[in-house]
Subunit: 409 residues, 2 copies
């Protein structure tokens, strides 16, 4: 086995990318789906933005360093990763805020339909944003969540917009974007796709799926840094019809004319709101630039192999410890992550942490491992499972301090 693994790593066409990241040797980081690792290019770039662009260039850098167009420039780069056209994505604000923008835009295109639909187990912030919008609408809009299996069946003439996450944050299950979008469109329903666990993780082709709206996260597989700006995609055909609800000055047709009335710019820029967050955008761009150098098909191929190897190791080495695979066993239906349920998931994640294996816990009982093909090696996966076995065999997880819950896990 060890030889076969060494061989996989030796023949891995993506192996050189690992050196592009700052990663402590000995650390097995399987949490890049929560916070991506630091690209080596980022620190010097940020130092330059701070000292030269801000410190020396001051206000002039809005034009000279092209800060003012960073949301569009970086958006266009993200579009290349996701099958969007130039001018269909901007990078700005948080995923939650962008969900609000996309839902409001969709609702404005379906004024006679009161329902915003999602699945009950969607990532919480998605549903929370729907609920906030409902509460604010004064009875005009209703947030409705259904069981995951009932989503397509719940599409009807009452539904204005469906909000779905393409790759489920907990199970890794992939939704078929093309099929769901088609089913929604047949009922006149628009769809907002949350790509937080898709972007940089699986192949996405927004326009061939005929997507309407999408949002996604910059700090996971895109390696944009903690709290990186998120992004929003609005298909060209919807841009001019949708009036932004978060209508800030950066979305105005002439922001620096300081006019009294809002007039949305006639392009994707109308989905900007306040002043762009330059430091965060600059770090995000480093992550995107690195991702653009990788072949996405190759990335997906390696992601699938890493997942299959992880499952094989779990089957062979941890079968007796009561783990059950939450993610689909069929790689075609699974994103770039693997989740196992276990009654002591929380303590085990903490015990693994002590052994330099970083995964994460998702309530109530899930161990979640992110597979990031840019910097993870096949041998890392084997070693991580071996450490998990060690934790189980030794009972090392069964310590009182591991049971204490922290605020963030």
């Amino acid at each position: 086995m060890a030889d076969a693994i060494a061989d996989l790593d030796a023949r891995d066409p993506l192996a050189p990318f690992r050196a592009e990241f700052q990663l402590r040797e000995g650390l097995l980081y399987l949490d890049g789906n929560s916070l991506g690792a630091l690209p080596r290019a980022t620190a010097p770039r940020i130092a330059d933005v701070v000292s030269r662009e801000w410190g020396d260039g001051l206000i002039g850098s809005w034009l000279k360093a092209e800060w003012v167009s960073a949301p569009q420039r970086i958006g266009d780069k993200i579009a290349r990763l996701l099958g969007g056209r130039p001018g269909e994505i901007v990078a700005a604000d948080s995923t939650s805020i962008n969900i609000f923008k996309a839902l409001a835009a969709a609702v404005s295109l379906r004024p006679d339909r009161p329902v915003i639909l999602s699945e009950r187990t969607n990532f919480p912030t998605d549903v929370y944003m729907m609920q906030g919008m409902e509460a604010f609408s004064g009875g005009r809009l209703r947030s409705r969540t259904v069981d995951p299996a009932d989503v397509v069946g719940a599409l009807d003439e009452e539904v204005a917009v469906l909000l779905l996450t393409q790759v489920h944050y907990k199970s890794g299950l992939i939704r078929d974007m093309t099929a769901v979008t088609r089913a929604a469109h047949e009922k006149g329903v628009l769809v907002v796709w949350d790509l937080s666990h898709s972007a940089g993780a699986i192949e996405v082709d927004l326009n061939s799926a005929n997507a309407d709206f999408a949002v996604g996260c910059g700090y996971k597989f895109l390696n944009g840094g903690p709290g990186a700006p998120a992004f929003i995609f609005v298909a060209e055909r919807h841009q001019l019809a949708a009036r932004p609800v978060l209508s800030g000055w950066f979305g105005h047709a002439r922001p620096f004319a300081f006019e009294e009335d809002y007039e949305a710019v006639a392009d994707i820029g109308r989905f900007l709101c306040g002043t762009p967050q330059v430091l965060g955008l600059s770090a995000l761009e480093c992550g995107i630039d690195l991702m653009l150098r990788a072949d996405m098909r190759e990335l997906r191929r390696k992601s699938v192999r890493l997942g299959e190897l992880f499952i094989q190791c779990m089957d062979e080495r941890c079968a007796e410890f009561g783990f059950s695979l939450v993610s689909p066993r069929d790689a075609a239906r699974r994103g770039s992550q693997l989740s196992y349920a276990h009654p002591h998931a929380y303590e085990m994640i903490r015990a693994l942490g002590e052994r330099q294996v970083v995964g994460d816990f998702r309530a109530p009982d899930v161990l979640r491992f992110g597979l990031t093909p840019l910097y993870l090696r096949y041998r890392d996966v084997v070693e991580a499972v071996e450490q998990l076995r060690g934790v189980c065999v030794s009972g090392a997880w069964d310590r009182p301090e591991f049971r204490e819950r922290a605020a963030v896990t």
Copy 2:
């Protein structure tokens, strides 16, 4: 005169602060009200956040480096500058987004009143956010703007909330926060104060003015860096009654329990939405920490003196060139900036830029100069006016390339 100026600088108790900023010698930067200068402490701090906290600490830094509580920690520091109590401010998102949060919260407290009131010449994004909210409300809310002098008279039983900027972005005129708030409360109207040109510029005491809500900008007088996170103040007495409309997971009572329904945390944290922008917050904190070391009364005293010196120099050296003072001549009614109208304001600002004097242009005809007592010297003000005189005497502003308008000015 030169001796008197040198003497002012020599006796300036704030003079040592200038060395805390990276500022090119010879540059006369009178635009710190648009983008504050770079504190020397910021670059090493950001380098540490990137390389050690993110690069080495990875996901664990949410707890170990206290990223997760940064919005509250920094908010509490901002509260010390503005007369807020601990737990009344969070740093997050942009000013525009925070305006939306504050307006929505205020409106939820006055459900039977349809009007959001402001003045016509408020900073555009303030009014634009009102207009977006009106459009989304489906007829429930109306955005109304009146002439600046008519604001108090327009307060009536229809008005839910008044949105005002304390220091006007163009004229620098200070609104009396206590008096306006009292007049509004007498009519049952809540007030949202935009402190973008107040925070770090003048003495503000939110609670002694009985303020309800406030928002403000991190990248102007607070020196938080380009596109720095903004802040939102919600008086303790309103926090639990106001349901957030932008109800993202970071405002949930238990964000990491991943519950299905939104439950706002029972404190200022409910005005957070998505994942905090760690890089931007870290830079902002450096600016705030520096500001906290200065005595705000001393800051205001110097700001007034800088302004009076500027006006005196303009009166003595530029009287014949057709400038008219837009800002109040009475220092007590003026923020930390000075504006002059001139038919060729745009070209003059550009000509000044070539001479290393940075001010900014505000449409249609205003030259605006920010007075930042932490890093501006009395002699800088004298020299800036002397350069303006030079531009006028020589006619150096009258060049075709200075007439071409750029996207950002």
